[in-house]
Subunit: 279 residues, 2 copies
């Protein structure tokens, strides 16, 4: 008998975060949570083993709540990353007359991502805002007049709505990233990635360059780098870096030890297998 | 007689982008545009002299449309940046009974940014989505039952709605950035900033480190750095860098010349005065 994992995620069912959770562990028992801090609490108090968090989401941009949790929170580490291509669908109640549609519901950013499609297909329909793409499907189903929604396929399947057309976003390259957080990160696999955050006590030219040198000299490739203002004072930044390798690899370990001596803050969010988008 | 400038911005009136435009040039004639490409067209065809674009917006995250325009578009340059603190207000129709409010309207991300406040203040009210914070005020005013909206002060003033409370966002440090684009960037002022974008033909370890060395060796401070996947192929990135100085400063010029020789793409978005947030 196998015991399936319990996975908290940003609900409700039918969102893109649920898609990511289901793709990551199809066998998991999924626990929808209303907010990002609620997912973290579920993992920390043991009611879920891991949590799936959007980190760069096409509907939310950079997900500040998740970054704040990694930077300021304690006890949670990245054990996996997931990237999924976002495919928006046009969905409606079974049997609705496509030509009669007067309103299209969705989250404002999903509507924005499908603007050209909607103008072409429904030049006279009104667009109306929903709290989520999942809620949009409910609004379309409950509408007294013929209505459609923009959502993912899953939200349509959950409610018995009809998927009229798939991939209706204007830009086909729409990928969003999620991280799986747990009480411990992942053991080395030989093809790993490590996410770290650091900052310096004072802002001096060349500091970040020096820090990157610690990795460059050891041939550790950086796959992502981002500066974010700390807002604790002018000219102070957090640097968020993804590097190739595991924190237990000797070269990475050395670089992190040196970095720790020169920075006012160094936080290793975790080491985890590198993710390759399925083709 | 002074001739005031014509400024295109992301409308409608009452949005935070309008706030930014009004703060930048209180004397300007403002032209609301429905989309980011429409602002660009207005500046390029001369119907507006400059355009105000959100670039990191609290309601939209990183504004991909603006970044795409800078990276892939031609003929527009950054001539100014603006940062404004975002202050959400609770607004309602004059004379509404605060205790009777059943629905609070706003853009889903504004609702998210005020979640704790709303749960504390209106534990029993429903939250409902709007396409923008400005549209939320209209929905609250038109509601048959007592309703409120989350918006900026300006949207309330434009419609005669009452501002019940100001600064109701859960996180007080909510600042969003805008750029002003025109056909030419700004002349040197002695306290400037330059935004550039570059990428390499192939992804090799240490390239970004080398590029940063061109600036570090010349004591040119970098105030922002960000990598973004190009999505043209795996492992390919755009690097977006803000540096202190003007593209006409000799040290910046030298660094950019060297950078141009080693990169497959180098684009100077523009040089413009450094912005300091008013206290």
């Amino acid at each position: 008998m196998t015991t399936s994992i319990t996975l908290a995620y940003l609900g409700p069912a039918g969102t893109f975060t649920e898609d990511a959770a289901r793709q990551y562990r199809p066998d998991a028992t999924l626990v929808p949570c209303p907010t990002i801090p609620a997912i973290a609490r579920a993992v920390l108090d043991g009611s879920a083993e891991q949590g799936v968090f959007p980190i760069e989401n096409s509907l939310q941009g950079a997900v500040t709540d998740t970054l704040d949790l990694l930077i300021h929170g304690d006890g949670l580490h990245i054990t996996q990353e997931i990237a999924i291509p976002i495919s928006h669908c046009l969905v409606m109640k079974q049997g609705t007359d496509l030509g009669a549609i007067t309103t299209v519901y969705s989250h404002p950013q999903a509507l924005g991502q499908c603007r050209e499609y909607l103008e072409r297909k429904f030049p006279n329909a009104e667009v109306a805002a929903s709290l989520s793409t999942a809620a949009a499907v409910q609004q379309a189903l409950n509408s007294p007049t013929p209505a459609a929604a923009i959502s993912n396929r899953r939200a349509a399947e959950l409610t018995g709505a009809e998927v009229v057309e798939e991939g209706v976003q204007d830009n086909p390259n729409n990928v969003t990233r999620f991280v799986v957080l747990a009480k411990a990160d992942h053991a080395p696999t030989g093809r790993d990635k490590t996410s770290i955050c650091f900052s310096f006590a004072a802002d001096k030219p060349g500091q970040l360059y020096w820090a990157m040198g610690e990795f460059a000299q050891r041939n550790v490739n950086l796959s992502k780098i981002e500066s974010r203002p700390t807002r604790m004072g002018l000219g102070q930044y957090y640097f968020l870096v993804d590097l190739e390798g595991h924190r237990e690899d000797s070269v990475v370990k050395e670089a992190l030890t040196n970095l720790g001596k020169a920075t006012s803050l160094l936080k290793v969010f975790g080491s985890y297998p590198r993710y390759t988008l399925p083709l």
